[in-house]
Symmetry: C2
Subunit: 327 residues, 2 copies
């Protein structure tokens, strides 16, 4: 299939040019792959970043009440430590910087380097490593519990908290409480195509699905024949229940993420199946969002994110308006 790009190496900059033209509150820092909210408003800025290919993440979440800035790497490659450091220096106003990192080995390496350098310059850094993916069960820490769609709950809730004046320590406390309450599990029906290369990152037969696939095409935990959306929803909800151990009447937040190429009709049919199962479970869903939230290029697939509401403020913060264009 033709990929609607020019050169792969220019794609990230071209996507940045598009969004900074369309949205007046977004600007690019110098010629760096850094997008920031030019109506800076919080005492403690919050930044995030990661590889590209996951659009609208993360630049779609820059705005009032969400991220102050996002740093974009190349496709499926984290940004360089120097770029992260530049972003930290730029947003810092003397009250420290809070940073949200997804749990991938390569990402953590670059972010850790940048934190070390920033601290040497006297900038206080606090951070959270998001690790909501519960699909990988047996491997070592570095590949398991990747940061996926649940990361967006951190962006929105912490972003709104910062807007309302939370300091660095308060953000860290909230982030820890949140990150241990979120679980995500996904499924793929078609691998992603790397732009300009027309090759697939893994292979699936025509009627197969892969459970627990990562947002970079990492292998899932099981490949099986597809039966129906209901069967699929049932397997995923059961696994999430075992992890989250919810009780009848618990309050939860639900995200259904379209990984890229799945039709909106399928997304809604699957969402309906998940909603019905969670109603049977007796959960009270206090906030629901579906859509292309954090994609993996044109991969087809969906993920479910559930977060137990430990604090009523979380729901309030999720519902607060933002001009981040992807929320």
């Amino acid at each position: 299939m033709a990929q609607l790009i020019n050169r792969k190496s220019a794609s990230v900059q071209q996507s940045i040019s598009a969004i900074t033209t369309i949205y007046p509150h977004l600007s690019q820092l110098k010629k760096l792959p850094i997008i920031y909210n030019n109506q800076l408003d919080t005492t403690v800025p919050i930044i995030s970043g990661g590889g590209s290919g996951h659009e609208p993440a993360h630049f779609g979440y820059v705005g009032n009440g969400m991220l102050t800035a996002a740093i974009c790497g190349d496709i499926f490659i984290p940004p360089h430590a120097e770029e992260i450091l530049e972003a930290i220096r730029f947003v810092h106003k003397g009250n420290g910087v809070f940073i949200i990192v997804k749990n991938f080995e390569a990402d953590i390496k670059e972010f850790a380097k940048a934190f070390k350098a920033a601290r040497k310059e006297g900038i206080t850094i606090k951070y959270i490593v998001s690790h909501d993916d519960i699909s990988v069960e047996t491997s070592n820490f570095q590949v398991r519990h990747r940061g996926v769609a649940g990361t967006l709950l951190l962006h929105k809730i912490l972003g709104e908290a910062a807007k309302r004046g939370a300091n660095l320590d308060e953000l860290e406390q909230m982030a820890l409480s949140l990150s241990t309450s979120i679980a995500t599990l996904g499924v793929a029906t078609k691998p992603a195509t790397i732009p300009g290369e027309d090759k697939k990152l893994f292979s699936l037969e025509n009627d197969e699905i892969s459970f627990g696939i990562g947002i970079h095409g990492e292998p899932g935990y099981r490949t099986t024949k597809f039966i129906s959306s209901e069967h699929l929803a049932n397997e995923l909800v059961n696994k999430l229940r075992m992890r989250l151990k919810w009780k009848d009447g618990d309050d939860y937040i639900l995200l259904i993420n379209n990984l890229g190429g799945t039709s909106k009709l399928e997304e809604l049919v699957f969402t309906n199946d998940v909603l019905q199962l969670l109603e049977l479970e007796g959960l009270h869903l206090k906030f629901i969002k579906t859509g292309h939230l954090i994609t993996s290029l044109d991969m087809s697939g969906l993920s479910i994110t559930l977060c137990k509401v430990k604090d009523e403020k979380w729901v309030d913060y999720l519902e607060s308006p933002t001009d981040a264009f992807a929320w």
Copy 2:
């Protein structure tokens, strides 16, 4: 590729169940495929509808300042006249009903039948047939100038006008002025898959693109090798210029529609190319929107919609807030 549904015949009702659960302002009329804004607010209601498979159209555009109701047909099949009539009866408050119909032969047949029956019951009906697609040049009226993504501008602008008190005649005048100002042209890189059938609606070689493809997989006007997003944007913008005959300094509205399966990265790279070309042309873009606006299941492809701003109010109405979830 596995399609994440249960039964094809149940998909539309299941998608309706999902959205009425998620969005409190949306309700289903009886057990009919009709979604309405349960916070009815306009003197003159505006309704639209068409085949399913184009989600989030049209139910994603039901809300304050947009549609009062949407009627969903089966996948790629228009709703029945009886269902359209039920919707008209339900929303009617004595001041007439304004209806937006996409220019497809089958749609027009069903809507015309419903209009006739409604008028017999004493309900005043005015309507607009949206026909923004400029891709088919030589065939007869019934297949050319299909109603595609530009239809959404009618939904939003007329919806806001109705909210601000426009009467039926004023809506008709505005609709006529709008519908002759809008042009859309699209391209596909991968055909759609009909759910549960796993068959493609047309065929394309791996590196081919098809210009002017319809939202139901109707044949395009030319199939060619893909060169680059810039080349593609250039061809489409040239064709739009020939149709719209713009002048340096003209004010325009721009929509870039993702037909379903194209990655967000490609969508933004292509958008950037279109923005650069339109800047060279000297157009002033007063409103820009990109995304999955009206899809064709999982078809990969993009379309450009341009609308000349003949009335400053149009831009104001587009920018006004709505709770329609897809806007």
